[in-house]
Symmetry: C2
Subunit: 194 residues, 2 copies
């Protein structure tokens, strides 16, 4: 196992406008074509792709930290503004593999959104994301971030670096969806929920 | 041991101007009289106290999270602007009790400063603190935050919640001091360093 003594102190720098982050060890980029199954309106998703539209939806930039026990990971996450049908752009959502030891803390640095969470007992929770808010996600809660605003939603996530993300908790598990209704973000039942 | 399932998702809210944070489980308040030994210029510290001045230097607001294994703690920290002699207001500095499993991540939300770190081998490091910077502190590094600006330095700290702070790493251990010299922040040798 890599020892904590093996890394030196370092800064992560971020710029909001234009969006830029350094250093980044690993980058996750998701566009509509790579995560279309996450959205409820498959007709709208397919229609957009048929028109040649494949918008960038999510970017994740990871800090250069070993993925080992005893380290903290720091991710910069971006969810771009937009919708698929009436559903806002969002992250796929996932749950951590260790329900007793892998909480996560989000700090929003730009934009506005909703943090949708649900534990394995089916209890759900929705928190606002905005500058001035820090979200505490206990380990047993799956979590998904939804950009309900008109600018990129940018947030830092801190979690134990040996955490694995389990994406099998997906759009068929979340009981709720966040959609635009009458120009407002609304929490509605997910018709696909098991 | 308290289970992770025992807490629900929650938001921490912070306001920068005026400074305000909710919720807060535990608050640490330090004024000059309670931390004067941390400063190199004891004559200046005693003179200020003799004049009836006892300025607030540090505030720490802790999130309402159990101090148990598997939780992450989120602290909002404030270091006010000011000096004792030529030395800027700062935190006492401490090292975490578990050098392999207790790193910390700082995110500055207001102000400017320096993060002084030193490991048990005597290697030191200085990082800037400012909006747009996230500091990664590996576990074996003692750390102290110095406000080199003219407004409060406010930063969020995230670390494993079962971490104990060891304040026996103190001003006699840090090899360097951050002082004002010619109107600028300067890193100088600490004459008290063992």
């Amino acid at each position: 196992m890599e020892s904590m003594a093996s890394i030196k102190p370092f800064n992560i720098t971020y710029s909001i406008d234009p969006l830029a982050f350094e250093p980044k060890e690993e980058v996750i980029l998701r566009s509509l074509s790579t995560m279309k199954e996450a959205f409820i309106d498959q007709t709208a998703a397919e229609a957009a792709l048929a028109r040649g539209e494949d918008p960038r939806i999510v970017e994740v930039y990871m800090a250069p930290v070993p993925h080992g026990e005893g380290f903290l990971m720091a991710n910069i996450n971006v969810v771009y503004p937009g919708k698929v049908g009436m559903e806002y752009f969002m992250t796929k959502g996932h749950i951590h593999d260790d329900p007793d030891h892998a909480p996560e803390i989000y700090i929003t640095v730009k934009g506005t959104g909703k943090l949708l969470m649900q534990n394995l007992a089916g209890e759900y929770s929705v928190l606002d994301m905005a500058e001035g808010l820090i979200n505490y996600i206990p380990a047993p809660y799956a979590h998904r971030c939804i950009n309900t605003g008109s600018q990129p939603l940018v947030y830092l996530g801190v979690f134990p670096a040996d955490t694995e993300r389990d994406y099998s908790f997906d759009s068929k598990n979340f009981k709720k969806l966040v959609v635009e209704r009458d120009g407002q973000a609304a929490l509605v039942d997910n018709p696909l929920a098991k």
